[in-house]
């Protein structure tokens, strides 16, 4: 039995725990040709250097801005879409729409960015249409100011449909008799939505919101790295791409490892904290569900 477990276990140890020791270079003046052990110690100089660099702060601000916009504008979309789907009575039609909206979740970022380029980019559909209409053509893909919005738009296209799964499941757990009782008491469809449906999914919404807050320092690396150069690092750099470009591309190993470590530690603390809070609310949700 243990033999079956072994390959998977080894994987987790080697690729998730062993790398943690690599963070030692955050405290060293790492020279690739000297290796981990022989590079001289640098104390906290790497951290000081990172915090003194405006590029780091700009990456942090961009990360928070992008995550914030996604939280406010992406997060509610799957809820709305789930409510819409839930209100479709014909199960055939509903299943068709579901299959369509789940699909983009399985498409890679490279493809999605390419498609957006084709539609919104310089030679794409939208600028051409605007041109025809006599408007000054506008290329959203290279507008630094629009970058966080572009990312949110792409995220909505890719994952809003997929995100409905969990809300649809929550909607299914609402007791149909509640709707019937509410209707008999004279509640119209909006009041039923407000007083029956929404309270029914609030626990799930809170849970996901908290878990999302825990992820606030992690915005999609692939999505951003593909488009960072189009808008420039001032608005396109986030913490993860900072580490990539300064460390692996730029050879500034120690400093970017320090940034990575700071991000990892705060990120883990946020996830743990979020889980704690979610546990608190989650308990509540399960309790209320069982109570009905």
């Amino acid at each position: 039995m243990l033999l079956l477990v072994l390959p998977g276990f080894l994987y987790f140890v080697v690729f998730h725990y062993v790398p943690l020791t690599g963070y030692v270079i955050a405290f060293k003046d790492y020279q690739p040709y000297l290796g981990y052990a022989d590079s001289p110690w640098a104390g906290i100089a790497n951290f000081q250097a990172a915090f003194a660099e405006p590029a780091f702060w700009s990456a942090l601000v961009n990360t928070l801005e992008i995550a914030g916009i996604q939280l406010v504008f992406f997060f509610p979309v799957p809820i709305g879409l789930a409510l819409l789907l839930n209100s479709v009575l014909s199960s055939k039609l509903r299943r068709f729409v579901q299959s369509v909206v789940y699909l983009p979740h399985f498409i890679g970022w490279v493809v999605i960015v390419s498609i957006f380029q084709q539609i919104l980019g310089g030679a794409g559909v939208l600028p051409n249409l605007m041109d025809d209409a006599g408007m000054p053509s506008y290329d959203m893909m290279t507008d630094p100011g629009a970058f966080p919005w572009l990312l949110a738009l792409q995220l909505i296209w890719k994952d809003a449909g997929w995100g409905t799964i969990i809300f649809l499941a929550a909607l299914l757990t609402i007791d149909k008799q509640q709707y019937e009782a509410a209707a008999i008491d004279g509640a119209g469809s909006w009041r039923r939505l407000w007083h029956v449906t929404l309270p029914g999914i609030v626990p799930v919404v809170i849970l996901l919101l908290i878990l999302n807050l825990g992820q606030i320092l992690t915005v999609g690396f692939e999505q951003i790295v593909l488009q960072r150069d189009a808008v420039g690092p001032d608005s396109g750099e986030v913490l993860d791409t900072y580490v990539y470009y300064h460390g692996i591309k730029g050879g500034d190993w120690g400093v970017s490892a320090a940034v990575g470590l700071v991000k990892a530690v705060i990120g883990t603390a946020l996830v743990l904290g979020a889980n704690k809070v979610a546990h608190f609310f989650g308990q509540d949700g399960i309790y209320r569900g069982a109570d009905r």
């Binding site: 039995m1 243990l2 079956l4 477990v5 998977g8 276990f9 994987y11 080697v14 690729f15 998730h16 725990y17 790398p19 690599g22 963070y23 270079i25 009575l89 014909s90 039609l93 729409v97 299959s99 369509v100 909206v101 789940y102 399985f106 498409i107 890679g108 970022w109 490279v110 493809v111 390419s114 498609i115 380029q117 084709q118 539609i119 030679a123 794409g124 559909v125 051409n128 025809d132 449909g161 799964i165 649809l168 499941a169 149909k176 709707y179 019937e180 209707a183 004279g186 469809s189 790295v225 593909l226 580490v243 460390g247 692996i248 490892a257 990575g260 991000k263 990892a264 990120g267 996830v271």
Partner: protein, 321 residues
């Protein structure tokens, strides 16, 4: 609850004849519970409009990409860059991208990595999930926690890079598979499914003299086809779309999988010189869209077969995770 009757005091709006609402099918009688108001025309129309918009927002780009890949230069110019139905369909774009050799090689790399990677991932995940799903395995709690904790932190780019380098995997195909071989999420999904199988099955098989391995192969796996299908899809899609590992660990452009090729061709516009300079008869945009189609087709092909299992797979993980 009788579903047939149209009566019921709760029908507040005097039911307008639900027959011909434009652009949407009138809901069938028996679908609507008796207490629910008959839908108003404007309500139905709005809902239909919303659904059509949603479906179009997802569908239009797909159809546009496919259409454009078959289009001629005039078609593309006339329809502003994305052609739904080309007037002069041709396969020129596909001929162009496959004669270059780069796309074909990327495709082969992607197919091989996806196949082998999915097999490795499945074997490791099944073994671990099965081993940890039965009571009485020594240290199983510790082993499980070791895996679950990895959901809470991410070692980050630099340490991962140093590790892959240190293991001598830099610029090898193995670097596309090993660093992301087992997903803790999939492990949890599969383990909770295995745990739901009745213990009696295992007991009786053991009485008949079957060992752990035989139980797994003969009893557990045949019962888990649906969940295995979903997990295979998740793994396969991850490998197929993977671009991060390739960007990080592959130096040699000959080893690039399709997403990396796609990036240089379509996003950076490099490597398409023969097309751009007009040597080849295919328009540049058609060739680029043809590469996109090649990258998306495998997903479109397997998607319909696996789609019905999604909810199950995702929710098992959500409850336990």
């Amino acid at each position: 609850m009788a579903l047939t009757a149209e009566t019921g005091g709760a029908t507040r709006t005097p039911a307008p004849d639900p027959a011909p609402a434009p652009r949407s099918r009138p809901p069938k009688r028996n679908l609507r519970p008796p207490w629910m108001e008959a839908p108003t025309r404007s309500g139905t129309a709005l809902k239909a409009l919303a659904l059509i918009l949603v479906v179009a927002a997802v569908g239009y780009p797909f159809l546009g990409v496919i259409g454009t890949s078959f289009a001629s230069q005039e078609d593309i110019v006339r329809s502003n860059g994305l052609v739904l139905v080309p007037d002069h369909p041709s396969l020129e774009a596909y001929r162009t991208i496959f004669t270059g050799g780069v796309v074909l090689r990327g495709l082969l790399v992607s197919v091989a990595v996806t196949t082998l990677g999915t097999v490795c991932s499945l074997l490791a995940t099944i073994g671990m999930a099965f081993g940890l799903s039965r009571p009485g395995v020594t240290g199983s709690r510790f082993l499980l926690m070791t895996a679950l904790f990895t959901m809470l932190f991410n070692p980050g780019i630099i340490p991962n890079f140093l590790l892959v380098n240190g293991l001598g995997l830099y610029d090898t195909y193995a670097s596309l598979v090993l660093p992301t071989m087992v997903s803790a999420f999939n492990l949890v999904v599969l383990r909770s499914f295995f745990m739901g199988l009745p213990q009696e099955l295992f007991d009786s098989a053991r009485v008949d003299g079957a060992g752990d391995f035989r139980i797994l192969v003969r009893i557990v796996l045949p019962l888990s086809k649906a969940v295995l299908a979903v997990i295979s899809l998740f793994y396969a899609v991850t490998y197929w779309n993977a671009f991060f590992n390739a960007m990080l660990y592959l130096d040699d452009a000959d080893k690039w999988p399709l997403p990396m090729v796609l990036r240089t061709f379509v996003l950076q516009g490099r490597g398409m010189e023969s097309v751009a300079s007009g040597e080849s008869p295919a328009p540049l945009q058609a060739a680029q869209m043809a590469v996109l189609v090649v990258a998306v087709i495998p997903i479109l092909l397997v998607y319909p077969f696996l789609q019905r299992y999604f909810t199950k797979g995702v929710l098992t993980g959500a409850v336990k995770g």
